[in-house]
């Protein structure tokens, strides 16, 4: 069975996530959602290649990515929570205090 179709699927998910990150003018949480999509695409890639080479290490790495991405989302949401309380908005266009 040909694994190219799976790879294509993973590539589409990845570029979809990139486009979402770039074309996002709603809010920061949507940004995080798209980042999750990117990570998912990477995970799928690992699974595909572990099946191709009959190597279990790819799936081990997927497990770790799952773990770490969960932790990262939690921390990111906590930061956004604080940001919301100080700025009263999470619209990307309004958050421009990185430069005076």
């Amino acid at each position: 069975m040909n694994l190219s179709i799976y790879l294509m699927f993973s590539a589409c998910m990845f570029s979809g996530g990139i486009l979402g990150v770039l074309l996002n003018n709603r809010n920061l949480i949507l940004l995080l959602i798209y980042i999750e999509l990117i990570l998912l695409a990477a995970n799928t890639n690992f699974i595909i290649f572990s099946k191709l080479w009959n190597d279990i290490n790819g799936q081990i790495f997927v497990l770790f990515i799952l773990t770490i991405s969960a932790a990262e989302i939690a921390v990111a949401l906590a930061i956004i929570f604080k940001l919301f309380h100080t700025n009263k908005t999470i619209n990307i266009n309004d958050l421009s205090t990185l430069r005076q």
């Binding site: 590539a11 998910m13 990139i18 932790a71």
Partner: protein, 144 residues
């Protein structure tokens, strides 16, 4: 890109994608990981997103929102997909191997024999994440 007016709609599409991907993983002989994907991502992380969106009071209607259309971003996106498809299109990845044993056995053996240290470190990471989150959202109690 948001084709949806509401960000909750985007979240629901994420859940859909996660389900599809889970099925995809099952067909790739990674049942345990598909199961854990459903459990962790859909079961926990999307709930967190939901709570975050609700608490940021963002679901009141905003009718004057238009999707952002930007040439350079489209170019970058198409750049990524075209590079990747250029690599993939000429390659054949046939699979001719047999799988010996189910996914859970293989995973657990590798994890707890070879990667035991990383396993512990990952758990440390999770613990530290929990502590960080708790510290971040801790408000100083106001004197009454």
């Amino acid at each position: 890109m948001q084709l949806a007016k509401n960000s909750i709609y985007s979240l629901l599409s994420l859940i859909l994608i996660l389900v599809i991907v889970a099925f995809c993983w099952i067909s790739l002989n990674a049942e345990f990981l598909a199961f854990s994907l459903v459990l962790l991502y859909i079961g926990a992380i999307t709930i967190i997103f939901l709570f975050a969106i609700m608490m940021s009071n963002f679901y009141p209607k905003n009718n004057n929102w238009r999707p952002k259309i930007d040439l350079k971003c489209f170019l970058v996106g198409t750049g990524f997909i075209s590079v990747m498809s250029y690599i993939i299109k000429d390659y054949n990845f046939p699979v001719t191997t047999n799988i010996t044993g189910n996914n859970l056995d293989l995973l657990s053996q590798a994890l707890l024999h070879n990667y035991i240290l990383l396993f512990c470190l990952a758990s440390m990471g999770l613990l530290s994440a929990v502590i960080i989150v708790v510290c971040l959202i801790n408000k100083e109690p106001k004197d009454i």
